[in-house]
Amino acid sequence: MAKREYAFYPGCSSQLRGSAANYLVSVESMCEKLDVKMTQIPDWNCCGASISYAGSSELARHVLSARNFALSDKHLPGQDIVATCAACWLGGRETIEKLDASSQLLADTNEALKEAGLEYKPGTEIRHMVEVLVEDLGYEELGKPVVKPLEGVKVAGYVGCQTNRPFGIAGESFENPMYLDKLIDTVGGESIAKYEEKVTCCGGSLAFCEPEKAEKQIKTIVESAYDHGADVICTPCPLCQANVEVYQSEINRKQGTKLNMPVVYYSQLLSVAYGGTLKEAGLDGHIIQPKKLQEIAVKVVPTKR
């Protein structure tokens, strides 16, 4: 019997064949070990992300989030919604905040949703997976299932933007949030307290349309990790992960650098530490191989202490 149950909103990039497919895999194996049951919201839709503002209206974007909320309420009543993607979570939080503040926007949203036979009732909570980990379970509990501490792995905790601003994780500062470092330490890794680029923007979706500008950001983020002797960068955001890993080869090609820094999700660290295999931890889903983590993942699980 699962201890905790949540309505799960995985988001587009985490789907099978998507750019963050290995994120979903690692979240599933992590949650299994933590006795957390995540049920996908049936028929969920894209949140519109932060980039759709030219093509859409504010109301249309609220309708997107509200449809997911309404579906969750209908099929999984009483469960908090958990998003793993920073943009999905942020978009949802914004919709809740705006609709709570304006009865007209709420009425307009529901007038539109009626076309899909749905109604959004205020009172929904959407939370980031990280919030579930640090708030509902807590670091102590997260340390319990560790069977393979990530000894000797130096991890640059790269929080990025949208899991951090404008809402962030309660009790954390915007300029120097600590939860990711604490997660790293909890599973036996070595966090880097002085990693300067912790909350620097990777360029977000503009990596697509303004690649040169984003590459400048990515280079800074990766080089700082090298400066601190990191073995791997770790992030809670699928877009940060993709951008920072994928464009390193482009920076190398254009600038003659030799960047080759692996970038993983917090969920992969936890999954490996909990005894997850390469596959379960999604470590077979990288262009730049996180070798140290892979070595730990293939080690035979020692008997539980």
Binding site: Y53, A54, G55, L59, A60, F174, A242, V246
Partner: protein, 214 residues
């Protein structure tokens, strides 16, 4: 589109601030800016902005309508929200920048070939077609937006990334043929169409043709 611009010019004549307050998402916050410049100094692509948010706010008050709406600046917003959390007056700067960009596009005044605008439109069309993003089709649309030859060149340049993602099982050519999507995509598209109608009613626009009807 052009007609809407003329309509707004007639309606607001010399009062661009009032136009922004009434027509732009979160535009009613603009007058709260005290010109401290923290947003300008906090902006990710700040050095690339012709006009930083601080300047844009002043230009709005100074009635520099065309210079603001024709600007590439707002389109360089990465949605990092740094300006927003640091603003001492708590202006939702990120949303105002998106709102201004969106309004400029609606009036037909956004710069031609603005890459972020084009990407934004592609993203919206892609994600609302089935209710979920198809990353492969979206990427192809973005790379080929300036034509076939330039698209092929971009794909060739980025071939190693594509190959890497393919072997990492994070990109699959099958996505060209089978797409993830909502079962009730028709309901979703009806709701979005209705949202457009409501938006037009509230703001006094004509409904934009989008092809949601399926």
């Amino acid at each position: 589109m052009g007609d809407l611009n003329q309509q707004m010019l007639d309606k607001y004549s010399n009062n661009f601030l009032r136009e922004v307050e009434e027509k732009v998402d979160d535009g009613d916050w603009v007058k709260m800016c005290m010109q401290c410049g923290v947003c300008a100094g906090s902006c990710t692509f700040g050095p690339d902005w012709e006009h930083t948010p601080q300047k844009i706010f002043m230009m709005i008050r100074a009635g520099k309508r065309e210079a603001v709406l024709n600007s590439h600046s707002m389109w360089l917003c990465t949605s990092c929200y740094n300006c927003m959390v640091r603003c001492p007056r708590k202006l939702p700067i990120t949303h105002i920048m998106h709102g201004l960009a969106s309004y400029a596009h609606r009036l037909g005044l956004a710069p031609k070939d603005q890459p972020t605008r084009d990407f934004s439109l592609i993203f919206w069309e892609n994600s609302t077609k089935t209710g979920r993003v198809n990353e492969l089709r979206m990427t192809i649309s973005v790379y080929f937006r300036e034509g076939f030859v330039s698209g092929i060149k971009k794909m060739w340049t980025l071939r190693n990334i594509g190959r890497g993602l393919f072997f990492a099982k994070r990109l699959n050519p099958m996505e060209l043929f089978v797409s993830h999507g909502c079962k009730d995509k028709d309901g979703l598209r009806r709701a979005l169409k209705k949202a457009d109608e409501i938006e037009a009613r509230r703001r006094g626009y004509a409904v934009q043709p989008r092809g949601y009807s399926s």
